[in-house]
């Protein structure tokens, strides 16, 4: 019986052209979103790769010069010296022996690798740099150039697959379901059907089953195609684990909209009333509440202006420069490459540069800490108020599954800060001791290895959003059950 009604419903739905139009829109939107997400991820990967290989190239050249110098020293029997000054080419030790020059003038690019599903949810990755240059002297506050003033993006999001799932999928679902019972009652077919040995509950369950099967097919089908087309690391089980989670939360989110449509239908209003109520619910839950949460977050916890950080950086720099006796010193400290070959003051300039960088970092750190704290508070508020809207829960869940959540980024920043200290210490120490770098040392430079978070951490962070969605679904789905008995089949 369930099968018979479900098959019948599928056939009737398949002959409704409006649904095909919405489905086509959905397919087109997902295709475009996946393409754009895939492009942004591959641009990120390419950017990180290009930047890293450029810097590696610089160091290779320095190493090459050092190797030639070492060979020459071995042949002539002279001492292996530290390049305190920039020598004319071919004369004296090369810059590559100077740890300060290597550590500050070349950067180590460290990258937060995207997860296999990164292309499906851009999250905040378009405003957070996924690769950072780490150099000696420069603080992370200067380089981790996250756009701190755009928490709206967390809620509104960019046009990615997550956006399509959160905004458009409910519309497709509601278009199929808003008149689940009301249209049959209005057309009079409900009485015809219920004159047969079928209960209303069974009829409704079958109608829902047909629609749920369509959604299951659409979601897994489109999701699978999107992952195969623009996903990464398809050979690792983690990607498929993430994809399974993606399917689960998307289906739970879909079921919520089905349940809401049933809840509204069971009160026996007309199709147009049901449609209006559901459209209003969509507007409130998907658009208005997320916007309000974002507004409240930015009002209660305003992040200091980005300009303040820049101004503070300038002021600190000016103050540091004042301590240098001449502006020429300051200029050379910043632009070592212009120090004339053979100038003995080069070493002083460099030390000054290092000192000024330290001063700037000290001056900036309270402001940077405030940025971090405010952003943390905003995100905390979003986390706590996500239960007001399934769309916010869904956004947070999809970000987490795609590895574009702010928590994962925070973890990366912490790893970056640790590595930055390691890199800085290694070169500063050798530089200040004037310990010449040998070609073999180039192999023992600190290297960044991203420590992936254990998958249990991902699951733990996903739990609040997913369980929130499940509880909401259960609540909405259970309310109509008693009402089914009272549903008016026939007019009085």
């Amino acid at each position: 019986m369930y099968r018979l009604i479900a098959m019948h419903e599928t056939r009737a739905l398949a002959r409704t052209w409006a649904l095909w139009a919405i489905l086509a829109l959905l397919v087109f939107a997902i295709a475009f979103a996946a393409w754009s997400g895939g492009r942004s991820v591959s641009r990120q990967l390419k950017g990180a790769g290009d930047a890293a290989s450029y810097e590696v190239g610089l160091r290779d050249r320095m190493r090459q010069e050092t190797a030639e110098y070492e060979a020459k020293v071995k042949a002539t029997g002279g001492p292996y010296e530290f390049a305190t000054v920039r020598h004319a080419p071919g004369q004296g030790p090369p810059q590559g022996t100077n740890a300060g020059a290597v550590g500050a003038e070349t950067a180590a690019y460290i990258a937060l690798p995207p997860t296999g599903l990164a292309a499906l949810s851009i999250g905040q990755s378009d405003i957070q740099l996924d690769y950072l240059p780490i150099t000696m002297g420069k603080s992370l506050a200067m380089t981790a150039n996250a756009e701190l003033e755009n928490p709206v993006n967390l809620l509104a999001g960019s046009f990615d697959v997550a956006f399509v799932v959160i905004f458009l999928l409910p519309i497709f679902i509601l278009a199929m379901t808003y008149d689940l019972l009301s249209s049959e009652r209005e057309r009079g077919t409900l009485a015809m059907v219920l004159a047969h040995p079928v209960s209303l509950r069974k009829l409704m369950a079958s109608k829902l089953m047909a629609r749920a099967a369509i959604i299951l097919l659409v979601v897994t089908g489109l999701g699978l195609v999107a992952v195969l087309a623009v996903g990464n690391y398809l050979e690792t089980p983690e990607t498929w684990l993430r994809f399974a989670l993606w399917i689960i939360v998307t289906l739970v989110y879909s079921m919520f909209w089905f349940a809401l449509a049933v809840l509204v239908n069971i009160y026996g209003q007309s199709s147009s009333t049901n449609g209006t109520i559901l459209a209003g619910a969509w507007l409130i839950l998907v658009v208005i509440i997320p916007t309000l949460i974002s507004l409240v977050a930015t009002t209660i916890y305003p992040v200091p202006s980005r300009m303040d950080l820049t101004v503070a950086a300038r002021e600190a720099q000016t103050a540091a420069e004042k301590n240098m006796d001449k502006s020429l010193n300051a200029f050379y400290a910043e632009h070592l490459e212009y120090v004339p070959a053979g100038d003995q003051r080069a070493m002083d300039f460099m030390t000054l540069g290092q000192a000024s960088a330290n001063t700037i970092e000290k001056a900036l750190s309270p402001l940077y800490a405030e940025f971090q704290a405010r952003r943390g508070q905003q995100q905390g508020l979003v986390q706590r108020s996500q239960y007001l809207s399934p769309a916010v829960m869904m956004q947070l869940a999809l970000n987490e599954i795609s590895g574009t959540s702010s928590e994962r980024y925070e973890d990366f920043l912490q790893q970056a800060a640790k590595f930055r200290t390691e890199w800085n210490d290694y070169f500063a120490e050798r530089f200040l001791r004037q310990d010449p770098l040998r070609p073999a040392d180039y192999d023992s430079f600190p290297a960044f290895r991203y420590q992936p978070e254990p998958f249990s951490v991902v699951l733990k962070r996903l739990a609040p959003s997913l369980s929130g969605l499940l509880i909401l679904l259960l609540g909405v789905a259970l309310v109509p059950l008693p009402g089914i008995r009272r549903y008016q089949v026939a007019a009085r």
């Binding site: 009737a12 015809m192 047969h196 040995p197 026939a490």
Partner: protein, 233 residues
């Protein structure tokens, strides 16, 4: 086959049906006459369990409708004033769906076609979408559904209102066929002529009560109209 015992239905203070006692045996065509709001549709809805009685019992084939609503619906066929079908399915697809809903999955495509032939649906119409059907065509599909369901009792709610005389006449002929096959038919109607012509028994209802029962072979057309109007004043 159809039996109402002290059947009552009230909505708040308003009594839509006040203690109806009625019996329709196999081979009967029982016509319920009465003004709008007399309780004819309420009676039919009670037999279909679309509404719950305030008190009393509605029985189909000796089974209480409220006790086993799904069981009793296996014997029933329902033809409302407008037989509403799925507009974007064809006549034959609608018939097949409803036959299967009624628990009859045994028919072949040829069987469905022959049901539609028996009720006189134009041969080329079976494969057209029902959206394009006239009311008369849809009423015929309604009868075909009853045939396919092998219904023992038919509940008809003003099935001929709005049909032209020829279509109405054809419909009556179909009812007589069904009666001859042994079905019990309860029909609410305003058509006194058709009631006397087709029915063998007539019940006149007023304000939720059955005020008089007649056998059609004992009265003339003029009698039916006179008695009916007497009650309405």
């Amino acid at each position: 086959m159809l039996e109402a015992i002290d059947l009552r239905k009230s909505y708040g203070d308003h009594a839509a049906l006040e203690g109806l006692n009625l019996k329709v045996k196999a081979g009967d065509i029982y016509c319920l006459l009465g003004a709008n709001g007399a309780g004819k549709t309420t009676t039919i809805n009670l037999f279909l369990n679309f509404i719950e009685p305030t008190s009393g019992t509605a029985m189909v084939n000796g089974i209480d409708v409220t006790q086993s609503p799904l069981e009793t619906k296996r014997y029933l066929a329902y033809i409302p004033e407008q037989v509403m079908l799925y507009g974007n399915l064809t006549g034959i697809e609608n018939l097949e769906y409803f036959a299967r809903l009624g628990g009859h999955a045994e028919y072949s495509a040829a069987d469905y076609q022959s049901f539609l032939d028996r009720v006189g649906l134009q041969a080329n119409a079976a494969h057209l979408r029902v959206r394009t059907y006239s009311k008369g065509m849809r009423q015929k599909v309604g009868v075909a559904i009853a045939l396919a369901k092998q219904a023992k009792a038919l509940l008809l709610d003003e099935p001929t209102s709005g049909l032209d005389p020829k279509a109405s006449n054809e419909f009556s002929a179909l009812l007589l066929q069904l009666r001859n096959d042994g079905a019990a038919i309860l029909m609410a109607t305003h058509d006194l002529f058709r009631a006397k012509e087709t029915g063998n028994r007539i019940g006149i209802m007023k304000s939720g009560r059955l005020v008089q029962e007649l056998s059609t072979d004992e009265v003339s057309h003029a009698d039916v109209e006179r008695i009916y109007l007497e009650h309405m004043h």
